[in-house]
Symmetry: C2
Subunit: 514 residues, 2 copies
């Protein structure tokens, strides 16, 4: 298939190389998705104009808070906003005008240039789950995540054909000090994978560390001139920008590194219960956040984010894969395109505790909607479980397999002579069958998406093999991928330099937990 | 919620009535879906014209077979087709011209007029799984279906809020003679539910029985003047119309009852491996089939059907929820709208042996695509398992719950003042929360779709309650629904007359199996 880049790796030379060659695992990574299908749009022009008008009203009349950040308040004052205390009221039109300097698309470079991604336009880049403090697998159940789990998920991401990006906090390595774990996480992404990665945002100094390590990996000049990280800056919805996240944003924007500026909304709690109300708030928040990034550095790459779930009004629990979340995701896509900004949303969202039917319904609902909504960067595209509390080994590979369906959906319908298949129709005719005809022989290898984990076997075979459910089949695949894993080649001097930086930084301050 | 019609039933009078009232179960059935969202379209005008042109070429040059059906051949000859042997070649434009007398929408009446459905236009009517010889539940595993299972599935369908239609062969009652089971099946649909149902198609005489029983239920005149059945006429793809199915179609068309005229295609086996080739064949087959229905009776209601799956080219197994099936489903929707015919496709399709993650991914992919493809009648909307070999009790209620998401998705985004929620945004402001605000209080009951089976509980509660997966939660719900089931009221004289008809027909011929 033309979109897939295949590679073979070997270790060392001579006999070892030949042995390695015999057992080498082919690691394929699909190119990021380039859509050849339309976007799905739920809002008409009038609805869009109402929401855009209302968002400006929110910024002008209600305003946003920039908390514990006097420099930000000063920047807003100089830009023409009305600042009272920590409240920033932005005159109608100003935020949108400031947003205009943000690029509509940008390249995030990977250390392997084959893995570079273009974020924006008609593209969709897929990155794994971000943030869970727990992991789950079939053997160990649910437990706190460790750095070993973290490395395993980076390896699984590297081995996943349909995943374009190594992500960031694929799980929280809770066995490493809070003030030092970002160093180990970055080192893992940089050395165990060659796909692009995300930087730390939990303190501005950790964002600085991310930039410094990236300069060791890519070279100082390269990082000055290119974007090598996309990092996640959450807005404290409603309408609040805290100093930690803004501090990280400031570091990245100054260094021309990309940030996802993303409201984090459980609808009914952090935003109104209605879709149009939530869209209004999301737009107001993103306008303020993106405008602020451009006050730091005109042209800094940013992504319009929207993490939006519904709420179960009985229990207060967040809910996933719901129709209301879909409406919001479709709507934000339209708003992002009108702002000419790349769009982040969607993911393998679910509330289920297990990788079961509930998890898969919710996830499939979310993945499909994100593709059709025109999302350009999908964080959490695989491995998310239990409302984001858990990174699931089994669900990671199940979801990653489903990401292949998005690639094939996005291709659209081929209408060339081969696609039209009139020869096949003529050859077979009424009552025949197509399995053996020439057209089928010519096309069968690439005609259909193929799973690498789901079961299509005859019932009797399946039963003889233990009547395994998806979770058990996924468990087998997780083990196989981790067994087959081979690290991508890297200059040993760079690894040494990265390790030295990590060691020095770790030695420079005592461990902090919590 | 305004789209839901609630009912309470009681049995008898006096003390019994009061006791019944206290324990009566509220049975809600949502109105069929009326879409307020756009259709998703993957084909541009040029692609549509190519496919339409090619389909006419198939009819004109290759033709279709009407097998063992000399009367059909005669009808085609008289209509202007070129008939040689059983091959019917239809001049370009003729089939489409004949199709023009089929209605673009029709009402299928239920014995409870509240349950009438409008098939066509922007509507979507949901009906359960059709045809499996096996059933599965958590206790009994996989086994041959019986008439008791059949009745249970009719009851579950009646109790399912989001299901508008009782369906047809919800499973094959294999313990009843092949030549008599249609009588028991119809009796169950007519007495255990008050939703609309499907007629038998396995022999023309069984279609006649279906009409006769419907006349007992609705009255002779009513059935003469109204459509009370929608039945499934499969085309024997590629391009073949067998005499049994055509015989049933003839009965129904003559009686002004509706037929779904539906290619049954496993892509790569019964149609070309490419999407455009399959679309061409589907259109050619439907044009021929619908045209034939109009040769029987101009104006007879018909639905353009498309049952299409992909194939696993390694094993030959059919595959479900795939991107190729989605492209075909979207494309057929566009072709059906250009033909001005109601459209049947989609369903809770999956290849999995269990109601697990695989089943749910595949099902959710299929359900979402069917909604966006503009499907008007969705057979198999819940309960389908193992490629259609199995009706699953647990999956039936899980899928039926997910059908609620389609209803909410179809509503679109409310843009009135309440939807815009500017009051809520003003009331809460930066850093607040929306849970307690007036707007949330006013809207929380209807703002979000709610599951009746999925789990949103806190982890600890869920673990204390046995750490149940979706299948186990569904099993609990199945039992509750069957325990709570109360038959809808019906005139006892009608039940007697139906039973007498069934008894007389059963006595009139010996049992036949196979």
């Amino acid at each position: 298939m033309s979109e897939v880049r295949a590679e073979r790796r070997t270790r060392g030379g001579g006999g070892a190389a030949r042995r390695a060659e015999r057992t080498a695992v082919s690691v394929e990574t699909a190119k990021f998705i380039q859509r050849n299908i339309p976007n799905f749009e739920v809002l008409n022009e009038e609805a869009l104009e109402i929401i855009e008008y209302n968002a400006e009203t929110v910024l002008e009349e209600i305003g946003v808070n920039f908390v514990e950040n006097p420099e930000a308040l000063q920047r807003w004052r100089e830009a023409g906003a009305d600042v009272q205390g920590e409240r920033v009221r932005i005159p109608r039109g100003l935020a949108r005008q400031l947003c205009a300097t943000a690029p509509s698309a940008f390249t995030q470079h990977a250390r392997n240039p084959e893995r570079n991604v273009e974020i924006g336009g008609r593209n969709l880049v897929l990155a794994p789950v971000y943030g869970p403090p727990f992991v789950r697998d079939n053997e160990g159940g649910r437990r706190y995540a460790t750095i070993e789990d973290f490395r395993n998920f980076v390896k699984l991401g590297y081995m996943s054909k349909w995943l374009h990006h190594s992500g960031g906090t694929v799980c929280e390595p809770t066995d490493v000090a809070v003030n030092k774990r970002h160093l180990d996480m970055l080192l893992a992404h940089m050395t165990l994978s060659d796909k692009p990665y995300m930087g730390s945002v939990t303190e501005p100094v950790r964002a600085e560390d991310s930039v410094r390590m990236s300069k060791i990996l890519f070279g100082e000049d390269f990082v000055d001139q290119n974007t090598v990280m996309t990092s996640l800056i959450n807005i404290n919805s409603p309408l609040t920008f805290d100093s930690v996240m803004m501090g990280a944003l400031e570091v990245y924007a100054r260094n021309n590194q990309a940030s996802i500026i993303s409201p984090f909304i459980v609808g009914g709690a952090m935003a109104p219960v209605t879709v149009a109300g939530t869209l209004t708030q999301v737009l107001a928040e993103v306008l303020a956040g993106v405008a602020y990034s451009q006050l730091i550095r005109k042209g800094a790459p940013v992504i319009m984010g929207a993490f939006v779930t519904s709420i179960d009004m009985n229990s207060g629990a967040p809910t996933f894969g719901t129709p209301e979340a879909a409406h919001i995701t479709y709507g934000v896509g339209q708003l992002a395109r009108r702002l000419n900004l790349p769009y982040r949303s969607g993911g393998s969202f679910c509330g289920s505790k297990l990788p079961d039917a509930q998890a898969a319904y919710e996830t499939a609902n979310s993945l499909n909607m994100a593709l059709l909504a025109g999302v350009n960067f999908m964080l959490h595209a695989c491995g998310w479980l239990e409302g984001g509390l858990v990174s699931s080994y089994e669900k990671f590979v199940l979801d990653a397999d489903q990401l292949g369906t998005l690639h094939h959906l996005a291709k659209g319908v081929y209408m060339d002579d081969n696609g039209q298949a009139m020869d096949a129709l003529r050859e077979v005719g009424p009552g025949g069958h197509f399995l053996g005809c020439q057209h089928t022989q010519n096309n069968f290898k690439t005609a259909f998406w193929r799973t690498e984990v789901l079961d299509y076997k005859p019932y009797e075979t399946w039963e003889e093999e233990g009547a395994r459910d998806s979770s058990q089949l996924a468990n087998v695949r997780v083990k196989k991928l981790l067994r087959d894993y081979q690290a991508p080649a890297i200059d040993p001097a760079i690894v040494e330099a990265l390790q030295a930086f990590v060691d020095q930084r770790k030695a420079s301050e005592p461990d902090a937990f919590g």
